[in-house]
């Protein structure tokens, strides 16, 4: 059983389009995250939700809008896609917000902007 699942796995689209990535976790965790990993493998936090409430909102263009309909789901909508948005986007979850809890990652969504 997949613990943290993201869809789609691959997303190829044109500049200027709007797209969404979905994430679901079946671990019963309260906290979920979105990370962006660039071509040099640098992983940077974008957003985090705890029990559907936004708790981390890093310096991310407002074209990126996360939504958490319930604590098992965290989606990411991206408007007006740009070339620089090409990256791998990872969803993760943890039991709570305590820093001593491991995070569980999905396998990523590879976004390519043409």
């Amino acid at each position: 059983d997949t613990a943290v699942s993201q869809t789609p796995k691959y997303l190829v689209t044109q500049m200027g389009n709007d797209k969404s990535i979905k994430c679901e976790q079946n671990l019963g965790h309260d906290t979920m995250y979105w990370y962006k990993q660039d071509s040099k493998k640098f992983l940077k936090i974008m957003f985090s939700y705890n029990n559907k409430e936004l708790i981390i909102n890093e310096t991310v263009p407002n074209r990126f809008s996360p939504k958490s309909p319930d604590k098992a789901h965290l989606n990411l909508h991206i408007n007006s896609l740009e070339l620089g948005d090409s990256a791998v986007y990872f969803c993760a979850s943890s039991p709570g917000t305590a820093g001593n809890q491991p995070q569980h990652f999905g396998d990523g969504t590879r976004l390519s902007i043409l």
């Binding site: 936090i45 981390i56 305590a98 820093g99």
Partner: protein, 112 residues
């Protein structure tokens, strides 16, 4: 800003050899975590060491932490081809406990 920096950036060894990766960080921490990322996959948590611990073992993994030098090392003993992956250290800076900051990783290649 980036908190952890792994060293070396890439490491290539033969199966059966030991692999050592290092991580340096900038601010005080409560704990440091190591993750593994296989090609095309998400990160997998390996081990967590608390700031009051100096060494921790898990199977073939040994992690050390030196808070005075703000550094940690990950040793993989008797490496296998399946250990080929990127390894990242991650720290939640004090005051932002749930916000893990990752380094750029060490790419380990274990040749059969």
């Amino acid at each position: 800003s980036q908190q952890g920096e792994e060293d070396p950036q890439a490491l290539s060894i033969q199966e059966g050899e030991n692999a050592t990766m290092n991580c340096s960080y900038k601010t005080s921490i409560n704990n440091l975590q190591w993750y593994r990322q296989n090609s095309g996959r998400g990160l997998v948590h390996l081990i967590l060491i608390r700031s009051n611990e100096r060494e921790k073992h898990s199977g073939r993994l040994r992690v050390t932490l030196d808070t005075s030098k703000k550094s940690s090392s990950l040793l993989i003993t008797a490496s296998r081809a399946a250990d080929t992956a990127s390894y990242f250290c991650a720290t939640p800076p004090i005051g932002s406990n749930y916000k893990l900051t990752f380094g750029k990783g060490t790419l380990l290649t274990v040749n059969p």
